[in-house]
């Protein structure tokens, strides 16, 4: 890449405001993806009679989406006003759409998950509801995994906005890799075939789309390669690649399956934190705002 031209700023101060979001949000990006992928695995395992994979996936989805909701509410300036999200449904606000998506998805995940965990009479009562609930959860899950990319991209934050073309694919890939990884970790070799294939497919999609994204982002891609986000980004890439390779042996060796699962889960979390932090950094540094905009203006003026 051509080194950026010198640019002017007001005492080097940011033009934009970085989001006020804390670690809750990248944690949610990871956990929401994990929940979505696990719901898909859980429903598939249910329909194809893989009871151990079904059980672990449904419980994982429940745990991940519960932690997600806690993180989302915790991040609000006025957590007690969380319900104000339900005043309106605005297609122009990905957060509004996401809230409604989670409102549909969460209770279904809850039903399917609690049915696996509840003992005795409650368990028997919920058992017939588990399959339909799990299927509805699985049908909404892909949107849960991909809308968070729009959530980030629909901002003025350069490293998020400029990534909008590929980010949804990176996020669904990352979600599939994480959920597949957890499936290999938590279910016996006899049932982990689909988890293994989901993990490998997800990791390949993520890694491939990330390379494309880096090329299409322009200057903003530099935010993914420098400093703390850069370290997270490289770690994510290595762990995801390692996890995908190790997963190839997961059907022969339980140890390889566990190693692969751990690498993919950590890799997926690193991906989300890297992209989140890169965005924050790209908003704080006026270079990412001024240089591309100045180039556009100069190009128009000829």
């Amino acid at each position: 890449m051509v080194p950026p031209a010198t640019f002017t700023s007001y005492y080097g101060r940011p033009v934009l405001k970085a989001s006020p979001w804390k670690d809750d949000i990248p944690a949610y990006l990871f956990l929401g993806g994990l929940a979505a992928g696990s719901s898909l695995l859980g429903a598939g395992a249910d329909l194809t009679h893989r009871p151990r994979l079904r059980q672990s996936s449904r419980v994982a989805a429940l745990a991940a989406i519960s932690a997600s909701m806690a993180a989302l509410v915790h991040d609000l300036g006025k957590p007690s006003r969380f319900v104000n999200m339900l005043r309106v449904a605005k297609p122009s606000s990905p957060m509004s759409m996401g809230t409604w998506l989670l409102t549909a998805y969460g209770p279904m995940v809850g039903l399917a998950g609690v049915a696996e965990l509840a003992p005795g009479r409650l368990g028997r009562l919920l058992a017939p509801l588990a399959r339909p609930a799990g299927l509805v959860a699985a049908l909404t899950a892909p949107a849960v995994a991909s809308y968070t990319a729009v959530l980030l991209a629909d901002t003025a934050t350069p490293a998020w906005h400029e990534a909008y073309r590929e980010l949804p694919f990176v996020f669904v890939g990352s979600a599939a890799a994480a959920a597949g990884g957890l499936g290999m970790l938590a279910s016996p070799v006899a049932e982990s075939g689909p988890a293994q294939r989901l993990a490998i497919g997800g990791a390949l999609l993520e890694l491939g789309m990330e390379r494309r994204m880096e090329r299409s982002m322009g200057l903003a891609a530099e935010a993914l390669h420098e400093g703390k986000p850069g370290r997270l980004w490289r770690t994510a890439e290595r762990l995801t690649a390692l996890g995908a390779v190790t997963a190839l042996g997961a059907r022969r060796s339980r140890v390889l399956g566990v190693l692969s699962g751990a690498a993919l889960l950590t890799g997926s979390a690193c991906t989300r934190f890297a992209i989140f932090e890169a965005g924050q950094e790209s908003a704080r540094d006026p270079r990412y705002t001024v240089v591309p905009q100045r180039e556009r203006v100069d190009a128009r003026q000829g």
Binding site: G44, K90, G193
Partner: protein, 290 residues
């Protein structure tokens, strides 16, 4: 003449769109606007720091700063008056004597025609008023913070400070929504002693601004230019626009702001494709044997 965002927002027979024209060429940096704004809107103190940036110790717009006067001390070539040269005390021999100019500009929320903060607000707290301005309803905002990274000008922010009024809630200039209802001029424009901040019907302000730029060009200030007056820019024009004497980025303004939701339809399309890919992939991994 131009699109009225109040009409687009569903107001029936709204009043003319109101706005600010900030003519920075006559700003004297008195900060009366900052003080008047704080006073009228009961905006809390957000600390006093010496920032080392000329007379600007305010720093930037924030949840507790709704007007911000920028100060730039800019070296310019000295104008030769043809006088005999007399050395300055302490002047280095051979050093070029330079003059400098002040640039001062009172920044504020732009009340965009296409306002990203309003678009992304998930609670409906941010709304379009009948005057075409953009206002936060502080009793509805839950502090999600989405408007903050959405703003292409870095204006709106969550208010910080232990125990202050509306802590954790997104806050910004309201163009004195309460005063407008009573036919009053917003506090900053009312307090401005040089009429650098002019308030009124946006269409009329645009005409006034065009005439002012022409006058400045005629009187030998070719660097005068308008910022945000055009409805054709990336945010559909600003409700609060400016006359600047240098490039926007010199004042900390983005040179070519674009409302992020312009690409939202493509974003949803990509997200839909990605979701379909994930669903298809999940079906495939179960169709593929053991």
């Amino acid at each position: 003449m131009t699109t009225n965002p109040a009409l687009d927002a569903g107001w029936v027979d709204p009043p003319p769109r109101q706005g600010f024209f900030t003519d920075t060429s006559i700003c004297i940096g008195c900060k009366a606007c900052e003080v008047a704004c704080k006073q009228w809107n009961d905006v809390p103190d957000d600390g006093m720091q010496l920032l080392g940036s000329s007379y600007d110790n305010t720093g930037a717009l924030s949840g507790s700063t709704w007007r911000h006067v920028a100060f730039i001390e800019q070296p310019v070539p000295a104008v030769s008056l043809g006088m005999p040269k007399i050395g300055l005390p302490g002047q280095q021999s051979g050093a070029e004597r330079t003059d400098f100019r002040w640039l001062m500009s009172s920044d504020v929320c732009k009340h965009c025609t296409h306002a990203a903060c309003l678009d992304v607000c998930p609670t409906g707290s941010l709304f379009r008023t009948e005057f075409g301005t953009v206002v936060v309803q502080e009793d509805i905002c839950n502090g999600c913070g989405y408007c903050v990274p959405a703003c292409p000008f870095g204006v709106i922010d969550k208010r910080v400070g232990e125990g202050v009024k509306n802590e954790g809630i997104a806050q910004k200039c309201t163009l004195c929504y309460d005063r407008l209802h009573d036919g009053l001029t917003p506090a900053c424009a009312q307090a401005c002693p040089t009429q650098s901040i002019q308030f009124g019907d946006l269409d009329e302000l645009r005409e006034r601004a065009a005439a002012r730029v022409e006058a400045l060009h005629d009187s030998g200030v070719p660097s005068a230019r308008l910022y945000g007056e055009s409805p054709d820019d990336g945010v559909g024009g600003l409700g609060a626009f400016f006359l600047l004497l240098d490039e926007p980025e010199v004042y900390g303004l983005p040179p070519d702001p674009v409302v992020t939701t312009r690409e939202l339809p493509q974003m949803w399309k990509k997200a839909g494709l990605a979701a379909a890919t994930l669903l298809a992939g999940a079906i495939a991994v179960f169709a593929g044997g053991t």
